[in-house]
Symmetry: C2
Subunit: 201 residues, 2 copies
C-alpha cells in the first residue's frame, strides 16, 4: 500500500471531504418539488426515471407514469410497475414515430397522452410523475412547448416530475432543477449485441 | 405548421430513420450477457441501475443487488426492492467512506461485500447483478481491480451486470459493453434544495 493511502492520510482526506459535504448539506435547506430532466444520447434516461419511481414507492408515495412513446422496446418496466399498487401507469402512442410515419396520428397520440399527464400535474395526490420520452415528443413539435412549460410551472409545489428522452428543449432545461446529460461512451448494440431482455427490453 | 413539418416530409424523414434503424437492428444479431457501466458526476447512475432491475423483474428474471456504499441517502430503493420476490438484496459498508474515516474498516467492508458479489457472479441463476457504487470502492483501491475484472470476465456467458458510481476505472470501461457517462448539467442541491424523499432519498 502506498504512503498516500496509509490510514492517517486517508482519515485526513475523508475528514476534509466530510466537512465540505456537511457544509453543503447545511446550505441546502429548502424543500420543494423537483423537476428532473434526463437527456442525451446514452443509455439510462428512462431507466433512471424508473429507478426514481422505485425509490418513491419505497416511501409509499403515490406515483403516475405516462410513457409517451410505446416502442418495441421497454416492455419489462411496464409489466413490472403495473403489478405494483400505488402506480398509475399509462402508455400512449402507437410505436416509435419512425414506425407510424404519419404525423397526424402522432399528433393525436401526443395530445391524448398529454391530457393524462396534465391531469396528473394538476393533482397533488400524485407525488412523483414520470413523463417518459416527453422530450422526443417536444423535439418533434407534436405538443406546444409553451403549454407544457405552463402546466409544469403551475403544478403543485411539492410534486416531483421526471422527464426523459433525447433532445430536451433548452427552455425545459432552463426550467428544470436537476438536469443530467447521459452521454453514450459505448453501446453493446454497436458491437453487434442485440437488445437483451432485462437490459433494453 | 412549417413546410418542413408537413406530412409528406415527415413521412420521408421517418421512413429514412426506420431504414437506418432496421439495418442496424439486423446487424446486431448476437446474444450475450452485457456489462453496463454508469459513471460520471450526474444524478442517475444508481437510479438507472435500479430501473434495469425493475425491467428485469418485469420479465420474471432472478436478480442480485449489492450496494457497496450504504449512505444516509438511497433508502427508498432498498425498502422497495426488499419487498419484491426474485431479488436478493445485500447492503454492505457502514456509511460513506467520509463518514467512517477509517481505511481498515472500509477495506474489511469492501471485502465482505465483494464476497457476496463474487458468489453471484459465479452463479448463472442470477440473471442480472447490480453492483451499486462499486466504482467508488475501486477508485479508492479498497479492492484489487485485477481480481474484480477477472471475476467479471469469468462470469456466466448470459449474465448481465450493471456497475455504478463515479470514477469508473479505465480498465473497467474497456471491459464493458455499454458505458454511459452521466454529466451533471444542473443539480437542485446546488440551488439550495435539500435531498427530497423519492428523488434522492
Amino acid at each position: 500500500m502506498s504512503d498516500t493511502h496509509d490510514n492517517d492520510a486517508y482519515r485526513q482526506q475523508m475528514a476534509r471531504k466530510k466537512r465540505l459535504i456537511d457544509a453543503r448539506v447545511q446550505k441546502a435547506d429548502r424543500d420543494q418539488g423537483v423537476l428532473l430532466v434526463n437527456t442525451g444520447n446514452g443509455k439510462g434516461k428512462s431507466s433512471a426515471g424508473f429507478g426514481v419511481i422505485a425509490r418513491a414507492l419505497g416511501h409509499d408515495m403515490q406515483v403516475g407514469v405516462v410513457q409517451f412513446i410505446k416502442g418495441a422496446f421497454s416492455t419489462g418496466e411496464e409489466t413490472f410497475f403495473r403489478r405494483i399498487p400505488g402506480v398509475e401507469y399509462h402508455v400512449m402512442g402507437e410505436g416509435f414515430t419512425w414506425e407510424t410515419q404519419d404525423r397526424e396520428r402522432d399528433l393525436a397520440a401526443a395530445r391524448q397522452a398529454w391530457q393524462v399527464a396534465a391531469r396528473m400535474l394538476g393533482d397533488e395526490r400524485y407525488q412523483v410523475v414520470l413523463l417518459d420520452e416527453l422530450n422526443i415528443v417536444l423535439n418533434k413539435e407534436l405538443l406546444p412547448l409553451d403549454e407544457v412549460l405552463g402546466v409544469l410551472n403551475r403544478r403543485p409545489a411539492m410534486q416531483h416530475v421526471v422527464i426523459t428522452g433525447r433532445h430536451a428543449p433548452q427552455a425545459l432545461i432552463d426550467l428544470a432543477d436537476t438536469v443530467t446529460w447521459m452521454k453514450m461512451e459505448k453501446h453493446a448494440f454497436k458491437a453487434g449485441i442485440r437488445a437483451q431482455k432485462g437490459m433494453e427490453l
